[in-house]
């Protein structure tokens, strides 16, 4: 009965966290093991007693502060210095700015929301097709959870019990690969559609743009540098990043109003508790997975089909693309990691880092695939473009992600080389 309860509750739009908890309650009742109820609430609390999880509210706060602090437009301006002069300049600016932003923001939906508002109108007024503009922005948002910091990687690291700092490092090469593949897509579409020509900035103007953006670049430097050189844990570097974001936005750029801090902390609390609560519920749901031996049963099924790790990852990718159409991003990673990770590491000897990168990127893609594609709808509402028009321009990017996923599945070193 438990699977029925799970699916019925999920599709009736019961909050995902409560679906997990209710399924666990039902399962315990059915199995007659009701002594587990005595420790049910304790287990939910214990699911949060993890130092790594602290990074989630802190990275969210950094995003909030960055948003209010006027960093977005300065980062876009800096991107203009490097790629503004090419044909389709603004499309490349969009991509490069997304890459900078991804090194500050850890959430695809947050980044898509910010960037759609910031850059789609500019692209449209320069003569780009609105669908193409919004699609480029939405695709660029996929970089957020791959390039560190990444909310997905924090959660995967917590669930998989691997160091979050190393998980971040694992995302760097895949992030660059993804950026390059998107650049290629933009080039191809640009040829075909004759993107407007861009203009290079004059030297003094370019220097000014670089100078303005420099303080904002302290944030990714603090995050990646802190982790790379082992100075700070990801949690600490997130706190430092939020402090820098606050100081730069307030004192250097003069755009962040300290009296707005209250609202920002409130939004941080709302958004972080949404995600962290799902992890709490997932810890009681873990009973169902463990007592039902779901990974073992699934492993027996899959190992009878293939013994090749690459084939296994392809099967996982195909299955998760379907999952991603219905359940997005972080909710999906919380659901599938405890089931699939033991199979990947146990039966196929796949590195948890490689598996994490592949699975996270795959499920992030779900944010852009209908019918449930929050990222797509955010891009649509923020840029005032119908989802259909975005989807029509989006598919080359989706194909690019799929190809990158295959590469990442085939070459483990793309994920593990930097660790």
């Amino acid at each position: 009965m438990s699977p029925v309860v799970f699916l019925a509750a999920l599709f009736l739009s019961v909050p995902v966290a409560i679906v997990l908890a209710v399924t666990a309650i039902w399962y315990v009742w059915e199995s007659g093991n009701t002594v587990l109820y005595d420790s049910f609430a304790q287990k939910m609390f214990a699911g949060l007693e993890n130092y790594g999880l602290l990074a989630i509210p802190l990275f969210m706060l950094t995003g909030e502060l960055m948003n209010e602090g006027g960093m977005t437009k300065r980062l876009i301006n800096m991107a203009r210095v490097f790629v503004g002069g090419f044909r389709g300049g603004l499309a490349y600016i969009n991509l490069l700015a997304n890459m900078f932003m991804a090194a500050i923001i850890g959430s695809a939906t947050a980044q898509i929301a910010v960037m759609s508002r910031a850059i789609v109108p500019a692209m449209e007024s320069e003569g780009y097709d609105k669908g193409v503009a919004a699609a480029t922005t939405a695709a660029g948002g996929l970089l957020a959870p791959v390039i560190p910091p990444s909310m997905m990687f924090v959660i995967f690291g917590v669930l998989a019990q691997v160091p979050i700092g190393e998980m971040f490092l694992a995302g760097i090469i895949p992030g660059i690969l993804l950026t390059l593949s998107f650049a290629l897509v933009i080039t191809l579409i640009g040829w075909q559609q004759q993107f407007p020509k861009g203009a290079w900035m004059a030297m003094p103007e370019a220097l000014l743009a670089l100078r303005d953006a420099l303080p904002a670049l302290l944030i990714p430097l603090a995050i990646i540098g802190g982790i790379l050189f082992g100075i700070a844990t990801p949690t600490e570097s997130a706190a430092i990043a939020s402090l820098i974001a606050f100081l730069v936005g307030w004192l250097v750029y003069g755009e962040l109003k300290p009296q707005h801090l209250g609202e920002m902390f409130k939004r941080t609390a709302v958004n972080a508790s949404m995600i962290v609560f799902m992890i709490s519920a997932a810890s009681v749901f873990g009973w169902v997975i463990i007592y039902e031996e779901i990974p073992q049963k699934l492993a027996a099924l899959i190992t009878s089909v293939t013994s090749d790790p690459f084939m296994f990852l392809l099967i996982v990718n195909a299955a998760l693309l379907l999952v991603g159409m219905v359940i997005d991003g972080i909710a999906a990673i919380i659901l599938i990691t405890p089931i699939l990770l033991p199979i990947a590491t146990g039966s196929y000897d796949i590195s948890p880092y490689q598996f994490g990168v592949v699975v996270c990127l795959n499920l992030v893609l779900g944010l852009l695939t209908p019918p449930v594609g929050i990222g797509l709808y955010i891009a649509s509402s923020m840029s005032d473009t119908p989802p259909g028009a975005i989807l029509k321009a989006l598919w080359p990017f989706l194909v690019a992600v799929a190809l990158v996923l295959i590469l990442l599945s085939y070459f483990p070193s793309l994920s593990t080389a930097l660790i």
Partner: protein
């Protein structure tokens, strides 16, 4: 009336959650600072984790009032308004059932009656129930852990209040779940 209480309580929960988010941030910054001047405070990490746990459960309860928890809205979005109304009521019932279960779990865990029966003598309580909840210490804070665990009561009570208020058919502006 019930809805007004629910809204009021959600406001308090959110305010407290925001303060706890501030606390988490300051504690971790304090950690960075004290570690770099060579006098690390050993209790900061644990306190920060409990602050986050409190933020999470208070925020999650408030999210039930605002109906902005993460949910799969594929089906309700696709059906007629009438069917959607019915579905929403079913969701409210499921959430209420969950909240009542949580209350029951907290009751079984904290055993307030048993504690009262032993005259609030923890040793006698433990002797008769083999429930050691009131003896469990925190690792570094020097406080008993049940103080921090008590947020589960707040969560269970808040969730019960919010789901009851929704179920009693109050005028809400339904928000999209994102």
């Amino acid at each position: 009336m019930l809805f007004r209480i629910s809204a009021f309580w959600a406001r308090i929960e959110l305010g407290a959650a925001a303060l706890l988010a501030v606390t988490v941030t300051l504690l971790i910054l304090l950690n960075v600072l004290t570690r770099n001047i060579g006098s690390a405070l050993y209790w900061v990490d644990e306190l920060a984790i409990y602050a986050m746990a409190w933020m999470t459960f208070l925020g999650a309860s408030a999210a039930l009032h605002h109906r902005n928890s993460v949910a799969i809205t594929l089906l309700p979005d696709a059906v007629s308004p009438g069917a959607r109304f019915v579905m929403r009521k079913i969701v409210d019932i499921v959430v209420l059932a969950f909240a009542l279960c949580m209350l029951w779990f907290c009751w079984r865990w904290f055993m307030p009656l048993g504690l009262a029966r032993s005259g609030f003598d923890v040793m006698a309580f433990q002797g008769s129930t083999f429930n050691f909840i009131y003896a469990e210490p925190t690792l570094t804070l020097g406080l008993p852990k049940y103080l921090f665990w008590s947020v589960m009561w707040l969560f269970a009570l808040g969730a019960t209040l919010h789901s009851l208020a929704h179920l009693s058919g109050a005028p809400t502006a339904p928000k999209d779940a994102t």
